[in-house]
């Protein structure tokens, strides 16, 4: 049985297909079928010849096998310095091997490679900044995931996730109607407290077009209300698109490049339709990476930029605080030791460390902000990046991976962790669940709302 019923090389393109795969509890049959899945070596080799060009080839060739990248990888550190976790080893023994064998690898090899690609690397790109040759193993793992996806060797949840993007243009089964309804519902819920609060849908030429993470719509809709409240109080002229509102991309984690393109194009179409001055995305790291950093390339935009200037939520917030659009009541600033999680996707990989530091200056009483060590571009992955958080099969490995962040947080002594990234937020929640170190964690929005000075005319009358 080369192609399974659940596990095969075909991407999922229909809602029925998603439901069918979902009905296979924990992907049990899916993974069983994977053991029989055949490899299309010709296709694999052809793909490599067409897409693996000088950058990756050179990386693989000149890697000195010097091991300087070892210590930089948190998964190496946290797994007892297992030499099998050295970034260069991980990539040489997988992608390197596939290329050396010209794609003629067997099923067992591919399944092992899948584990390495998703459970031994979170694509945090930290090792890339520690290699003297400038070899970015994280990028190669991203590439390898694409090959594995093509051959059907992809974790169950990510196959579903990529399917969701194909069918719903969102990482979950949230439709465009659900999005607008939920946003309006949430605004209704809060309009008593914030008179005049609205959610402007599909307004052309607004200053800001706001995009979100579908998970907020599905499970944490307060986040939508909070975004609305902050824009409202800052006096922004903002809007949300009724289509093209989803910023995330599980397809990126899955290596489904075609789905990545489909997803990001809906957002770009919204930008082209509504012509906002800027796009602001929610507090999510990989969403920013997908839509702002990588997305333009998937969509074939040669200048590497989305159609409208696109910034991360922390950039907008820092700007609003710095310019006084939002004012913090100094008495309400955080007065307890607090630390900050730097998301790899927009700190190391997009240089936004100053924005978050600016925000901390505004919202934390001087002396209470404690940096993790290391921090900024050198910070470690939360432990759940690159899709790791969501993969049941690799849950055990993921829980081990959380130890790095746990120890970093413990070392700060802070009991409050600000995590302006969905993935990091999740990982930190899970690490509290798993290791119970007695911390609280939060996005920025709810924290900032609580300490705002609300201008007279925006206050509710009683």
């Amino acid at each position: 049985m080369p192609e399974g019923k659940f596990c095969n090389k075909k991407p999922i393109d229909t809602a029925e297909g998603i439901n069918e795969l979902l009905s296979d509890t924990s992907g049990n049959n899916y993974y069983k079928e994977m053991e029989k899945l055949e490899i299309d070596s010709d296709l694999l080799w052809k793909t490599i010849q067409n897409t693996c060009k000088s950058r990756i080839r050179t990386w693989l060739e000149i890697c000195a096998h010097c091991g300087m990248c070892a210590e930089s990888c948190f998964l190496y550190q946290v797994n007892g310095r297992d030499p099998k976790q050295v970034p260069a080893y991980k990539i040489q023994s997988t992608l390197g091997e596939i290329i050396r064998k010209k794609g003629k690898v067997d099923n067992k090899f591919m399944r092992d490679t899948m584990e390495v690609a998703w459970a031994k690397c979170t694509c945090c790109n930290r090792c890339g900044t520690y290699c003297p040759h400038g070899i970015d193993t994280g990028i190669m793992f991203g590439y390898l995931r694409g090959l594995l996806y093509q051959q059907g060797f992809v974790p169950w949840e990510l196959k579903i996730g990529a399917g969701m993007h194909r069918v719903y243009r969102a990482q979950m089964d949230v439709t465009d109607e659900d999005f607008v309804d939920t946003f309006e519902w949430m605004v209704e819920e809060y309009e008593d407290d914030y008179p005049g609060l609205t959610v402007p849908v599909d307004v052309e030429g607004a200053d800001i077009m706001y995009t979100v993470n579908a998970r907020e719509v599905k499970h944490y809709p307060e986040d939508l209300a909070e975004a609305a409240i902050l824009f409202h109080i800052a006096g922004e002229n903002w809007t949300v698109p009724s289509k093209g509102w989803e910023q995330t991309s599980l397809a990126m984690f899955a290596g489904d490049w075609a789905a990545c393109k489909m997803q990001v194009e809906t957002v770009y179409e919204a930008m082209e339709r509504l012509k906002p001055v800027r796009m602001v995305g929610t507090e999510c790291g990989h969403a920013h990476r997908a839509t702002v950093i990588e997305g333009p390339y998937w969509a074939g935009r040669k200048n590497g930029q989305p159609p409208a200037e696109s910034i991360h939520y922390v950039e907008w917030l820092a700007e609003a605080l710095n310019t006084g659009k939002l004012k913090i009541d100094p008495h309400k600033r955080i007065k307890e030791p607090v630390t900050l999680q730097d998301s790899c996707n927009y700190i190391r990989n997009h240089g936004l460390k100053k924005a978050t530091r600016d925000i901390m200056k505004h919202i934390v009483e001087p002396g209470y902000f404690i940096e993790m060590s290391p921090n900024k571009e050198h910070n470690y992955c939360c432990g759940g990046g690159g899709g790791f958080n969501g993969i049941g099969l690799f849950r055990k490995q993921r829980n081990i991976a959380l130890i790095t962040k746990r120890d970093q947080i413990l070392a700060t002594g802070a009991k409050l962790v600000l995590a302006p990234c969905h993935n990091c937020w999740d990982a930190i929640r899970d690490l509290e669940e798993e290791y119970e170190i007695g911390i609280r964690w939060s996005f920025l929005k709810p924290i900032v709302i609580k300490m705002l000075e609300i201008p007279e005319h925006l206050q509710p009358e009683e």
Partner: protein, 303 residues
């Protein structure tokens, strides 16, 4: 006269012992007034971002949610409430995944119930994790945002819903309190009960800013009584019996004491969203405090 104020009831339950008191009241009301009872269970939020895995509030185990599992949970709930579920009861069971408060509100949004019924700890089993994410309690959030009365049963002592005869309505003279009063009057009329209107004068220095002299206190009590009369008495006269009182002290303690004194079967209060300091749940608003302490069911009204 038929009582038709609770035609549709949304009963949010963990289907564990924690909701037993609330369950007794829920089934009791539903049977007494031939309501449509929607038994609603929230399984928890997926533990991993976009995955299908949740920590089941009942078993505390990580489970993968799919159709089979939901069918199984529904069956479990049926078995758990077997003794209540007979022919005379019109009920349905729904199961959802997510944060309890949010999912209850979402269910309420589509179902538009006349009453939401919560156990004191409904859906909050997963204390360790969700509480600490600064999310606020289920109770507080539902009471704040619901568009219909929310009935909460916390203590076992509160789990009795018999023939109602005494209702206590606590007021703070706000607009929301007026709405709560409309509701209280309607219930009292329909069920032919006595209604006691009560106001607690907050004399905690924190509130007043200074220690009040006894003269000042008594002066304010008289004023409050006048206010009650002016606002409510004309309509209270339509009832078979009523009383009006003002006591001084810490408001939530006084109202609990008063309700006990009056042998109240039901307490009705307005929920004040804005006055509740959002972060801190335990020390939250008066209503939460009353709910935790009251010896009878409490209905909180918001809109």
């Amino acid at each position: 006269m038929g009582f038709d104020m609770f035609k549709k009831i949304l009963f949010a339950t963990s289907a564990t012992a924690a909701s037993d008191h609330a369950a007794r009241v829920a089934f009791n009301i539903a049977k007494s007034y031939q309501s449509n009872l929607n038994i609603f269970h929230v399984m928890g939020v997926p533990t991993r971002g976009y995955s299908q895995v949740v920590v089941d509030v009942k078993t505390k185990e990580e489970v993968s949610v799919d159709e089979d599992y939901i069918a199984w949970v529904t069956e479990e709930i049926k078995t758990y409430y077997e003794k209540y579920l007979d022919e005379s009861l019109k009920y349905s069971i729904d199961v959802a995944v997510g944060l309890p408060a949010r999912e209850i509100l979402r269910q309420a949004k589509t179902m538009k119930p006349d009453l939401i019924l919560l156990g004191g700890t409904t859906g909050d089993e997963d204390e360790t994790v969700y509480k600490k994410s600064l999310a606020g309690s289920t109770l507080q959030k539902v009471a704040k945002a619901a568009n219909c009365p929310v009935l909460v049963v916390n203590r076992p002592a509160a789990s009795f819903w018999g023939g109602l005869s005494n209702i206590v309505f606590g007021t703070d003279f706000s607009k929301t309190s007026d709405k709560a009063f409309d509701f209280a009057i309607k219930v009292a009329k329909a069920l032919d009960c006595e209604l006691s209107v009560f106001h607690a004068l907050d004399i905690t220095p924190l509130h007043t800013g200074k220690m009040l002299s006894q003269d000042e206190i008594e002066q304010q009590i008289r004023e409050s009584l006048r206010k009650i009369r002016a606002r409510y008495e004309s309509r209270l006269k339509e009832l078979k019996g009523y009383s009006m009182d003002v006591w001084e002290g810490i408001p939530f303690i006084e109202i609990v004491k008063y309700a006990r004194d009056k042998h109240a079967d039901l307490l009705i209060m307005a929920h004040h969203s804005r006055k509740v300091p959002s972060g801190d749940i335990r020390l939250g608003g008066n209503v939460e405090q009353v709910i935790v302490r009251a010896g009878c069911p409490v209905i909180s009204i918001n809109k």
